[in-house]
């Protein structure tokens, strides 16, 4: 017997904002011009949902394709191709009911089989998707074995019961499973078009999607042009008529072109937010974004420096960093100083009482000196450490500031700037002492951060190990409410300090004030073109 669980009842987010499609609010008049041009930092690497790995690429894919669920303005789930789902009593089988009016841009109906094909394609070793691990993260049955080549692709735990019923079996209960369905890598793809065109199926004119927009033009490194898809089931509510994404590799150049009126939305380069806010108060915005910036300590048995194995040293290093100076004087974009790992605005997450967060900086620095002295270091016997960071103006400024903070407590920090790939390679091989690191959440739930510090995580480059922590994170997967466990896990991180938290991201950008529905309050910064529109001033 299955528990009928309608989507609307599992969602706690109120639907005061337009839930589905662009719906102007009372009192708003639509502008005559419904063209929209936005900025991309880089060329789009792939338009194939199962191949794409980029945030910018995902934005385009959310327009050209539609997954089981979409997100509303605040990040809550709303129906996409799926109307709702049921979860079995053992919490491992999801049955999705798909709408019967969803169509591909070539007029074919979107069926459960399209999802089965796409998901198998993602896990299939022959596809060699970099995001194949997402299937594993979702715990889809047999995903890990299929990726490792130990089981045939057909054994993936996803089946089409009929054209409009999709059944997914997962290995173990996963409370946030539905939230993971808005990720581009699990969007459906059209088998017929892929088999007919091979790797070329993503070209403009050939690409067939089931999203609200179709691809009109894609010139690598220059622009992407999209127009409404007349076959989309909710096309009557699509308002923007022509959307252009321009690649501009230089942030300052992009801002200049925004100011010249060539773009409607663009990021503000580091340090320029105060000036923009003063000059264009109605356009410069700073909203929370789910990413966390830290300095990772190498605690590896063999390769980590001895001093960093002492928790007093790790704590002292963290305490001595004046985060207020970093966010207020260096970044200047409304970023939040951080004393923990998980982004504080993550849905359902409650921060533990982290003691040093409430201290003054003078108190923290005093405590840092005391701890270092206990560990045998001080001004007359300084601790020598090296920090690796990858090339970037703001990473450099922060590193120099931290060098100064630590100098004040008797730590000599050598700064080691390296190219991105070298930095990453060294981190992943534990060839570092302290390394700059940042992590952005894959979904709006604390485990996307906390799983990283488990001993079995592939991203735990500092090799922090705590049995208690591992157990908490394992238990959280089956708990009715995992959030208290997340709070406890954060407390362990604060006590053990495997990294020094520095700040939590904000999305700092310029957006024309007549553009609505851009999902600014969605912590994941996932927007949907179909929900956006321009109002008359």
């Amino acid at each position: 017997m299955m528990n009928k669980l309608l989507l609307t009842t599992i969602l706690s987010v109120g639907l005061a904002l337009p839930a589905v499609a662009a719906t102007p609010q009372a009192g708003e008049t639509l502008a005559e011009n419904q063209d929209y041009t936005y900025w991309l930092l880089d060329a789009i690497k792939s338009m194939d949902p199962q191949i794409n790995t980029d945030v910018e690429g995902s934005g385009i894919l959310r327009s050209l394709f539609e997954g089981l669920y979409n997100e509303d303005q605040e990040g809550g789930l709303v129906p996409g191709v799926a109307l709702d789902h049921e979860l079995s009593d053992d919490k491992t089988t999801y049955t999705f009911h798909l709408r019967d009016n969803a169509k591909w841009s070539n007029g074919d109906p979107v069926t459960a089989g399209d999802f089965v094909y796409a998901w198998k394609r993602l896990a299939d070793p022959a596809t060699a998707s970099e995001y194949a691990w997402y299937m594993e993260l979702m715990q889809v049955k047999n995903a890990a074995k299929i990726i490792a080549g130990e089981a045939p692709v057909d054994e993936l735990g996803v089946t089409a019961v009929d054209d409009h019923t999709l059944q997914v079996t997962i290995e173990a209960p996963l409370p946030y499973f539905p939230k993971m369905l808005t990720h581009a890598s699990v969007f459906p793809v059209n088998r017929k078009v892929i088999e007919a065109n091979g790797d070329k199926w993503t070209e403009a004119g050939t690409l067939v999607g089931n999203g609200a927009y179709v691809l009109k033009e894609h010139i690598l490194g220059e622009k992407v042009v999209m127009e409404p898809n007349p076959e989309y089931w909710d096309n009557e509510h699509t308002i923007l008529q022509k959307v252009t994404a321009l690649t501009i590799n230089d942030q300052d150049a992009a801002l200049t072109r925004y100011l010249a009126g060539e773009l409607d939305r663009v990021d503000i380069p580091a340090g320029r937010y105060p000036q923009m806010k003063a000059e264009y108060p109605d356009q410069a915005i700073s909203v929370p974004q789910s990413c966390s910036y830290i300095y990772m300590f190498n605690m590896d048995e063999a390769k980590g420096p001895a001093a960093l194995k002492d928790v007093r040293v790790r704590k002292a290093l963290s305490y001595a960093i004046d985060r207020d100076i970093i966010v207020n004087n260096i970044l200047q974009g409304g970023q939040a100083p951080s004393y923990n790992w998980t982004h504080a605005a993550t849905e359902g997450f409650t921060l533990p009482e982290i003691d040093y967060a409430s201290w003054t900086q003078a108190e923290r620095t005093a405590k840092a000196k005391e701890l270092l002295a206990e560990a045998g270091f001080g001004m007359d016997n300084p601790l020598n450490l090296t920090l690796n960071y990858n090339t970037s103006e703001s990473h450099k400024k922060i590193a120099i500031a931290v060098q100064q903070f630590w100098k004040g407590v008797g730590v000599n920090l050598t700064l080691n700037n390296m190219e991105w790939k070298v930095h990453t390679d060294k981190m992943q091989n534990q060839d570092f002492e302290i390394a700059r690191y940042a992590w952005c959440g894959d979904y709006n739930e604390a485990s996307t951060y906390l799983d990283l510090f488990t001993s079995y995580s592939g991203h735990n480059n500092g090799k922090f190990f705590s049995e208690e922590y591992d157990q908490l994170m394992k238990d959280s997967k089956t708990a009715a409410d995992p959030n208290p466990m997340y709070t406890e896990a954060e407390q362990i991180l604060a006590d053990e300090m495997p990294m020094a938290p520095i700040y939590q991201y904000t999305k700092v950008e310029m957006i024309k004030p007549d553009i609505k529905g851009a999902g600014l309050m969605n912590l994941m910064q996932n927007w949907y073109l179909k929900d956006m529109y321009r109002v008359a001033n």
Binding site: K45, S46, I147, K223, A253, T256, V422, T424, D425
Partner: protein, 307 residues
């Protein structure tokens, strides 16, 4: 002459092969690979990727497969990063862009540079000379990464005459600023080389003879001085032309032209091995070709040179 050209082209083949081998080895010696990323890929996923792109093969076999692909099918392989595209497609899209703005920059740099240099030499130590030298030094010290933002600030943001970037199939208003930004420093070098070379020629014996037999100054300059004065300029122009038509990373980044200058630098940073090799081979082949063109031009200009 034909035998000489044939010989030079024959040498080009082992030269290119050597270039390929050295670049290939250097590239693979750099830490990290195309799939190294902040979120380390699980071993199984990485193994699937390496199998798909042949990176699990021994280095010598990867290189042999790669070279064979080029020789047999003129196939430079798939991009490891822009996975919807092949290297051939990336070059086919980006090279015409850089070729267009590069050639125009070259023409502009040569015409203005040579003119400035010649006039500066003829009116040596006059205000015209100082002005020409001043302009060329100014252009030289203003690198294109400074020039580009200034151009955009003036022509896009203040005057609103030109779009701040993009290519749009090479419409004229999108070409102007890239051409100016790319050509200035080359123009300055050409002007300086022309000026000093011209000064030297103007003081030589055959010019004195030409003047002594009463030829008008215009004829002396155009017929007797300019041609020999061009020799050092031409040896500079060969490699400069290749540099210009294969694009500038600054111009590509700042004006979002979609050219291969950016693709080249990106491929190195991304460890996109195939794109990096493709562009390296293109630049290498063009360099060899235009060095040959320069040598042929030499023989045409200077009758003393015989091959």
């Amino acid at each position: 002459m034909l035998a000489y050209i044939a010989k030079r082209l024959a040498i080009a083949v082992p030269t290119l092969l050597l270039l390929i081998i050295i670049s290939f080895l250097l590239m693979h010696a750099a830490p990290g690979g195309p799939f190294t990323q902040e979120r380390a890929l699980p071993a199984a996923v990485l193994a699937n990727l390496e199998a798909k792109y042949g990176l699990d093969q021994p280095l010598w076999r990867q290189m042999a497969t790669y070279v064979w692909g080029i020789v047999s099918d003129f196939d430079f392989g798939p991009s490891f990063i822009y996975k919807d595209r092949t290297v051939n497609e990336i070059i086919a899209q980006g090279f015409p862009v850089t070729l267009t703005y590069g050639s125009l920059s070259f023409l502009l740099a040569v015409i203005v540079g040579v003119t400035l240099g010649v006039f500066a030499a003829i009116y040596h130590n006059s205000w015209l000379d100082y002005l020409a030298v001043g302009i060329s030094i100014g252009a030289q010290v203003l690198p294109n990464f400074v020039m580009a933002p200034i151009l955009v600030l003036v022509f896009t943001l203040w005057l609103r005459w030109l779009p701040g970037g993009g290519w749009e199939g090479g419409q004229w208003q999108y070409i102007i600023m890239p051409v100016i930004a790319l050509s200035t420093s080359f123009m300055a070098s050409i002007a300086r080389i022309t000026r000093s070379s011209m000064l030297e020629v103007l003081n030589s014996n055959h010019i004195r003879t030409a003047r002594a037999k009463g030829l008008p100054e215009r004829k002396v300059i155009l017929r007797h001085a300019l041609k020999p004065a061009m020799l050092p300029v031409i040896s500079y122009l060969g490699p400069a032309f290749v540099t210009m038509i294969t694009g500038s990373v600054v111009v590509d980044i700042y004006f979002s032209t979609g050219g291969i200058g950016k693709a080249f630098v990106d491929s190195a940073l991304n460890r996109d091995y195939a794109v990096m090799m493709g562009v390296t081979i293109l630049v290498g082949a063009l360099t060899i070709l235009f060095n040959l063109v320069v040598d042929i031009l030499y023989a045409w200009i200077d009758p003393k040179i015989r091959y």
